[in-house]
């Protein structure tokens, strides 16, 4: 099939043959001269040209001599040198670059001299120095002398476009890569060219920020609620593609030089896209992260969170040595053998494995690994729970979760290999989003959907059109949280939406939030069946898909096997060389915490779980539990209740594999070598001490086992869910239905210690429809939310065109920690009062 496909493409692609510097080459029709030259190894200097951006011809650095056949077929030279980055190759064209044409060389040198006229040449203080295309090409393609003797243009510098992105206008060569990226790729046209001639400059349309010196802006930008002008989630990419040092990031400013840095490839730990990143570090400290080029996943773009949020792991609360609670009730540093022995002893007692009469009192141990772990870690956690502790109480889903979701994951996601890919998203004629905000929860998923802007129809099941959805030109299928199932069911028959979903290649994307809406995932499966659209599940955290594959859910064994099916259990037990696996059904994360809080669990093994992310009172549950082992990178609130704290490595200091939402294995090697060890290695130690050799000491061990186990057979699989569609709660009086999701840049634990990034986040607002706001009686533009939880949330109101009876607040933005303060998931009723 592949060969025929290749043949078909070979036949359909028209080619042209041209001569560049005397070398004849054949390229597909439509190829730019500059690309054709690259293919024969001829380097033409350039600044504005970028393979992923539309041609602009802005910098004029790539001028070459061109001769092409005219209508009669006589090859005639163009009267002036032409920009090779905008001109497409033609049959019979003769191109002479600076290597063979003095005229082209002279033109390029002239352009370079012109570009350098207003360039300050402050390379010693410029962050780009040493890796600067302007510096490099001025040396390789420029004249050594400049004829310019006048005073250079001076601007105030640096100009903060946002708290993270700084602009030095005098260094800018007006190539427009940044503005083109913002418009074409990210869809945030917040920066643009302003003024003309010598005063032409990049700026935002915010007069107060820019300080125009009497040059008034022409228009006013559409502001977000924060009033900040350049609050794009992808703004960091403009720094990376800037060919001079005009755009720099506050986090990296003046920190280092390229020759100081060691670059290691890696995978971002911030979302389920598995974006390829490059980690630059010096003396064991990460100084910056850049996007790596991975055409099948993130192309050359990453989110600002992927780029800037890395300081969390080197904060002062980083754990370096194990901690053991002493007789005085305080945590003390201990050696690894001591800590492991102490942890094993406590877990043995809690799990009833001591072989003494006290075992009767033991009520078992629950395992909460958190959703940020690698696939290897997830595998180790679940094997540790099932083999060493003899329980199915293991769940990575420390978020809204349901049994329906587990059935959905077991039947549709786990062991399904590569399903819908990024390329499929780009090609899909229609994409339906349900419980998923691509810009906030998907990272680079949004950029792929945005790439298909204009050719793709996007439908979104949500309470309102978010800014991200608006940028995708999405059609809203309005649904109150909890009522998504009904909304999906309503897409039926020849209705417009259903029809467009029937187009071949259409995709339905469901997010992790749908788990909180009864029947929604069942309905999504039905809709997929009805329309023939393909289904993709995109969780938020990086480790979730890997954990699903590795079986770190109570009802799922590795490879999507049903933990309640005896045949699946026997197969796994045989592979693991144990007699049997625990039969009793496991509890999910919320149930484990509830059990711990009510005293029906004696022990907890807890991984990277942040208590404030949970609606349940984890602190109370931990306090009630007899023995708690915590595996953490940093000393968190969990440590206050833990009896043993084992320090584990952050992703940059260990090897492992994230499985992204496509099902693609995104393996990464250790970027920085330290003494820190992975969760799976620590669990391997613990398992041995408990008398179970888990064989999860290394990444290779785990991957060998996973490969041998493979995906589940049909008989071992979980059945697809078939849950009746639930109904959204009815808003009555001052009780409104809560809608909420995590914004990309918020106060998540992995964004700690990065104030510049936090400054680009969006200010928290409570969204209400005008009618609802009137009914509630909003005073002073502020509302207060309570839900009988631990606290209240007070936020300014933003009137939004949205479903009545719904209030939306961001899940963990400054002043809006929904899970902690309200203690409820989206879909619940919250009391909303106008004013404070």
């Amino acid at each position: 099939m592949t060969s025929t496909a290749d043949k078909a493409t070979a036949e359909t692609v028209d080619t042209v043959t041209l001569t560049i510097d005397g070398k004849e080459t054949t390229v597909p029709k439509g190829t730019l001269i500059i690309r054709a030259a690259e293919q024969v190894g001829i380097d033409i200097p350039r600044f504005c040209d970028h393979p992923l951006l539309a041609p602009a011809g802005a910098c004029r650095q790539c001028l070459v001599d061109v001769a092409a056949p005219d209508r009669e077929g006589n090859v005639r030279a163009f009267p002036k040198p032409q920009a090779s980055c905008t001109m497409q190759a033609m049959d019979g064209m003769i191109v002479n670059t600076q290597h063979t044409s003095d005229e082209a060389k002279n033109a390029q040198e002239g352009v370079m001299e012109l570009l350098l006229i207003n360039h300050p040449l402050d390379c010693p203080v410029c962050d780009k120095g040493g890796e600067c295309p302007l510096q490099n090409q001025a040396l390789s393609h420029g004249r050594s002398e400049s004829r310019f003797i006048d005073v250079k243009r001076v601007f105030e510098k640096p100009l903060p476009l946002s708290s993270e992105i700084l602009l030095d206008r005098e260094r800018c060569v007006l190539c427009q890569r940044c503005t083109r990226f913002s418009k074409e790729i990210a869809g945030d046209a917040f920066i643009d060219l302003q003024n003309r001639g010598a005063m032409q400059q990049i700026g935002t349309f915010d007069e107060d920020v820019l300080g125009f010196d009497g040059y008034e802006p022409i228009g006013v930008a559409a502001e977000d609620e924060s009033g900040r002008a350049f609050s794009s989630y992808y703004s960091g990419n403009t720094v990376q593609i800037c060919p001079v040092g005009a755009l720099t990031s506050a986090a990296y400013r003046f920190r280092s030089r390229p020759f100081d840095l060691v670059s290691s490839p890696g995978i971002s730990e911030h979302d389920s896209s598995g974006a390829a990143i490059r980690t630059d570090h010096r003396r064991g400290t990460i100084l910056r992260r850049l996007s790596d080029n991975d055409p099948v996943v993130n192309e050359e773009w990453i989110t600002d969170k992927d780029r800037f949020a890395f300081s969390w792991q080197n904060l002062s609360d980083r754990l370096e040595r194990p901690l053991v609670r002493g007789d005085d009730g305080e945590l003390h540093e201990a050696s690894w053998p001591d800590a492991i022995a102490r942890a094993a002893e406590g877990l043995k007692a809690a799990a009833g494995l001591t072989g003494t009469p006290a075992d009767k009192k033991a009520k078992g141990v629950g395992v909460l690994p958190g959703g940020r772990i690698t696939m290897e870690d997830a595998y180790a956690y679940q094997k540790f729970a099932r083999v060493a502790l003899g329980t199915n109480d293991v769940d990575v889903r420390t978020r809204t979760a349901s049994d329906e979701e587990q059935e959905f994951l077991g039947s549709t996601v786990a062991g399904s290999g590569m399903g819908v890919t990024f390329a499929d998203l780009e090609k899909a004629p229609t994409v339906l989003l349900a419980g998923f905000e691509p810009e906030d929860e998907g990272g680079v998923v949004f950029l792929r959907l945005r790439k298909a802007y204009g050719t793709q129809r996007v439908l979104t099941v949500a309470p309102f059109l978010s800014r991200g959805a608006e940028k995708l030109d999405a059609t809203l299928i309005q649904a109150v949280p909890g009522g998504e199932a009904a909304a999906l069911a309503s897409i039926k028959g020849a209705a417009d939406a259903a029809e467009s979903l029937q187009a071949e290649g259409s995709v339905i994307i469901v997010g992790e939030r749908l788990a909180g809406s009864p029947g929604a995932l069942s309905e999504a499966l039905r809709l997929a069946k009805r329309t023939g659209a393909r289904l993709a599940w995109i969780p938020r955290r990086a480790g979730e898909r890997g954990a699903v594959e590795a079986g770190a859910l109570p009802g799922l064994l590795p490879g999507g096997r049903d933990a309640t099916a005896a045949s699946a259990r026997d197969a796994i037990a045989k592979a693991w060389g144990v007699d049997s696996l625990p039969e009793s059904p496991g509890r999910n994360a919320a149930e484990i915490i509830a059990a711990a809080a009510s005293g029906t669990l004696s022990g907890l093994v807890i991984g990277g779980v942040t208590p404030s992310d949970l609606t349940d009172d984890l602190a109370a549950a931990l306090a009630r539990t007899d023995f708690v082992v915590s595996l953490e990178v940093r000393r968190t609130d969990v440590a206050r209740y833990a009896d043993v704290v084992l320090p584990v490595a952050p992703p940059s200091e260990k090897p492992g594999t994230f499985v992204n939402w496509e099902g693609r294995l995104r393996g990464f090697a250790t970027a920085i070598r330290t003494d820190a060890i992975s969760d799976h290695r620590a669990l391997d130690f613990l398992g041995r001490e408990l008398g179970a050799d888990l064989k999860v000491g290394t990444v290779a061990d785990v991957n060998e086992q996973l490969a041998l186990l493979g995906a589940a057979g049909k008989s071992e699989r979980v059945k697809a869910p078939s849950v009746k569609a639930g109904k959204a709660r009815k808003a009555a009086g001052d009780e409104l239905v809560l809608a909420s999701w995590h914004l990309l840049v918020d106060e998540g634990a992995l964004q700690d210690g990065e104030p510049y990034l936090a400054g680009t986040g969006r200010t928290a607002v409570a969204r209400l429809s005008p009618a609802t706001a009137e009914r509630i009686g909003v005073k002073d533009g502020v509302v207060t939310l309570t839900a009988g939880g631990r606290g209240t949330i007070e936020l300014p109101v933003a009137l939004t065109d949205m479903a009545d009876g719904v209030v939306w607040v961001p899940a963990k933005s400054p002043g809006s920690w929904v899970a902690q303060e309200l203690g409820v998931h989206p879909g619940a009723l919250v009391r909303v009062k106008g004013g404070i």
Binding site: V125, R255, D260
Partner: protein, 231 residues
């Protein structure tokens, strides 16, 4: 016969040849032959009456030549601000990888050098330095120069990694210790062109407000000359 024996045989034959060597020097006469056993003392006796070239280091130190490549120094502007901007060009130029620099941003509260950037960390490892002076040539602000100091030995490795405070030029009499603001209404270019020639009152006032005990403030300066203070 094994091979090594062959080699030895050849060598022995060669030695025999060497014994037949005849000297080119003329034969000594009778007097010469009589004094031959003590003739070598003649050289010693001759040098008794020549001027000595031995230097009495360390009892007596001899100044090096003016352009001698000795220990580095990080210079200051006339108002006491550091010339180093932390650009790392010296580290880049260094063929021995002896220099380590980390830059940082000057802030309003802590201005160490004119402009936006200063060198927060500056280390030269004198176990590595080959005193070639390429760093001096690379320095764009003339911050780094070399002194005539050649006494660079020590008992520990750590002691031979000189930190920024070890390399900074001593404060001259009229200088004010950084951090303090730049001279009002100047930009970094004015400093580079040498237009800033002295501390101004507003800078002294600024330091007095924040660091009243600073030894470089006029009122805190000891009366003894700077040379003596430096030790």
């Amino acid at each position: 016969m094994s091979e090594p024996d062959d080699v030895w045989k050849v060598n022995r034959e060669r030695d025999g040849e060497a014994q037949r060597f005849e000297s080119n020097f003329p034969e000594n006469g009778a007097v010469g032959r009589a004094f031959a056993p003590v003739a070598g003392f003649g050289v010693t006796l001759r040098n008794f009456f020549r001027p000595t070239v031995t230097e009495q280091y360390p009892d007596k130190k001899t100044p090096a030549m003016p352009r001698y490549h000795g220990r580095h120094q990080l210079n200051r502007y006339a108002d006491g601000l550091e010339k180093c901007i932390g650009c790392e060009l010296c580290a880049w130029a260094c063929p021995a990888d002896a220099i380590y620099v980390e830059g940082d941003s000057n802030t309003e509260d802590a201005q160490y050098s004119p402009g936006e950037r200063y060198g927060r960390v500056y280390q030269i490892n004198y176990l590595r330095c080959i005193f070639c002076g390429l760093c001096i040539e690379a320095c764009p602000t003339r911050a780094l120069t070399m002194t005539n100091e050649y006494e660079l030995a020590g008992p520990t490795r750590e002691g031979l990694i000189y930190e920024k405070q070890d390399l900074l030029a001593p404060m001259q009499d009229a200088m004010l210790a950084a951090p303090h603001p730049m001279v009002p209404d100047t930009v970094d270019d004015d400093y580079y062109r040498g237009d800033v020639t002295a501390v101004v009152d507003s800078q002294i006032e600024w330091v007095r407000e924040r660091r009243p005990d600073d030894p470089t403030l006029p009122e805190n300066r000891s009366t003894e000359p700077a040379e003596a203070r430096r030790g």
